[in-house]
Amino acid sequence: MGVSMISAETLVERAARDQDVYAACALYGRVAPPRQARLEPVLFGSRRHRMIVAAFPLAPRALLARLCGDAEPVLARRLARNPALGADELMRLAQGRDSTVLARIAAMEAAPAPLLAVLASHPDPAVREAVAGHRGTPRAQLTLLARDASRAVRLKLAANPMTPDAVLDQLWSSDDLYLNELILQHPQCPLPRLRELQEDPLLAQAQARNHGTPPALLETLARAAAMAVRAAAVRNPMLPQPVAEAAAGDPAARVRRALARRAGLGQEIQQRLAADPDEWVRSWLARNRVIAQPLLHQLATDGAPLVRRAVARQPRCPQPLWPRLAADPHHWVRAGLAYRPDLPPALIEQMAGDSEIDVLAGLARQPCAPPALLQRLAAHPDSDVRRAVIQNPRAPAGVLAVLVEDDYALNRLLLARHPNLDPADRARLLWDPAPQVRFSMHTAWPGLQAS
């Protein structure tokens, strides 16, 4: 059958004939009502298929809406976890449901505020817990939940980024360390709480992480006895730079690693960190966007492959270093270079003889990779290498044609959406044995509304 002959009618009839619930799901929202009716026996005709549709997160919303009205309990439980449902469907689904379903609905991102407001006073704490953690819960209900008898509800409230500072202040407890930790790391944490130096290391660490903590207090935390607190303070961009840079002499490698990741490091500190005995410190420095070019030359000869790989991945890595890194004895370093988006054709050619899968997968993604290399890699026995060819936006149709027969379904799934795939090859994927490939193809098949 010619590609142009594959019409909506053909697709619908085949989905109906094969009882292909995934193809039917994909087609349902893209065809006219009479053809939708032809698909309905496939989608709703058996309990098994209704269960599949209810749980399928890529099912069209209109299709799921059909199931929401009279869903049996087990179907409702599946629907209540399906992220494809919108506010209207969730509202309908919530009517007369048990607390298991309501708790799931309240946890859905699309749960509407009026419904959340009602559920905030539900007798089951599991439902209130979901409401307390929802970003869309109205402020009045968040305030109400601050006095909830359930600790789990109060913890969810303290972790909700939309909880206002007044509610967080109300939640503060004299004897709940972990609740207070959530409050101290909250972006809306009341300033008086952040101004007060916490003695417990867990609380001090939360305070040190918070960008709202006053710089003067961060300075104190950067000198705390607990290593985790000092590291958190050094990671905090609000810590004054001179104080942070003093951490270059910190005895704990974890603190120096945090420093090596900071923006705005001075030359002298960079030099110090480049000579740090801990290879992770040097590696983080090599990946830092502010690193000076001479230091990249120095770290390109580092004894630790981890550090040399970080140099290879550094966006500002000087081009003269690339040939050396391309010939590095450690394949992980060469792979770091092979994945650079700016690799020139000459270097791709130089590295094309590599036998390591990670290196070849990097080369296969290169937009400048020559077709002959891509042709060879498309036939590589390792599925990761072949997938990398599919992920190359400039892979030509002739190379992609080979991959239509790829053994690995995930590869064919990715291939289905490649813009360079020949229409005739794309059509072959319509009848792929893997349901996820068929679904993807039927979802994207052109011209259905018009046919």
């Binding site: 913890l155 972790a159 027969e405 792929d432």
Partner: protein, 262 residues
């Protein structure tokens, strides 16, 4: 050489399920089916042997209704030469002993040099079907094989024991070996293989064809039967670690310290 591989199309349980009306299984509406994971490794081991030497025939066998054909076709698509499905409604309710009896009859008929089975099935996890077949056959058998080499009319194998120990041994062939995950890297079925397998015949045999009587089959021929399936009540044996991430980490650390006696 002939290699026989016992495979099973297992139930894959979905969330939010219901039990069947008789309370002895999961309702069918809540199950999907796939080839048992262990069987992918058994089949791969057989295919590796086939590819390493000439004249090796790989035969897969299963005990199941026509839904099991999909699993057999997957094996054919990967490179098995023949597929056999043994079934009769009288086999419903068979435990590993009764299933092993059927497999042993097929093995007696096929006379393989090697009989592979998975260590266990992922749905019921009895871990005994392959060994039950070996018992009926009276053949040497080794469980939980993690490495395999052919050495003439013997197999040199390594098997997993508890506590990270491994045991090396030789076994005379024919023998029944149950294969452990990780012994190799199973291949995917090629699209061409899938298409070809769809047209290949699957030999259907009944217990009567194999010379088995009604008393050998189903619950009558089993040493055990499922009386009831149910969700266990939450008890004190299971402890759900709740709280914030830091709180959970602290509780977990405390539990580990307690168990270590620190």
């Amino acid at each position: 050489m002939k290699i026989l591989i016992a495979v099973k199309q297992v139930s894959v349980l979905e969330e939010d399920f219901e039990l069947a009306a008789d309370g002895r299984d999961i309702a069918k509406d809540f199950r999907s089916f796939d080839l048992n994971e262990w069987d992918d490794y058994s089949l791969e081991q057989a295919l590796l042997i086939k590819e390493a030497g000439a004249g090796v025939e790989v035969v897969v066998v299963t005990v199941g209704d026509d839904e099991a054909d999909a699993g057999l076709r997957k094996c054919l698509a990967k490179g098995a030469d023949r597929a056999i499905r043994a079934w009769d409604d009288a086999l419903a309710g068979s435990d590993p002993l009764a299933i092993g009896r059927v497999l042993a009859k097929v093995a007696s008929r096929e006379q393989p040099d090697i009989f592979f089975a998975g260590v266990q099935s992922s749905d019921f996890a009895f871990g005994s079907t392959g060994l039950a077949a070996a018992g009926v056959l009276g053949w040497p058998h080794v469980a939980v094989v993690s490495r395999f080499e052919l050495a003439g009319d013997k197999a040199v194998i390594r098997r997993e024991l508890e506590g990270g120990l491994e045991e090396s041994m030789e076994v005379d062939l024919p023998a029944v070996l149950t294969i452990q995950l990780g012994i190799n890297k199973p291949r995917y079925a090629s699209l061409r293989g899938i298409k070809q397998a769809a047209a290949l015949p699957i030999e259907a045999v009944s217990p009567a064809d194999l010379g088995l009587a009604g008393s050998d089959l189903g619950e009558a021929g089993s040493g055990s039967r499922v009386r009831r399936m149910y969700l266990p009540e939450k008890g004190s044996a299971a402890q759900l670690i709740e709280g914030t991430p830091a709180e959970q980490a602290a509780k977990l650390a405390q539990i580990i310290k307690t168990f270590k006696g620190a």
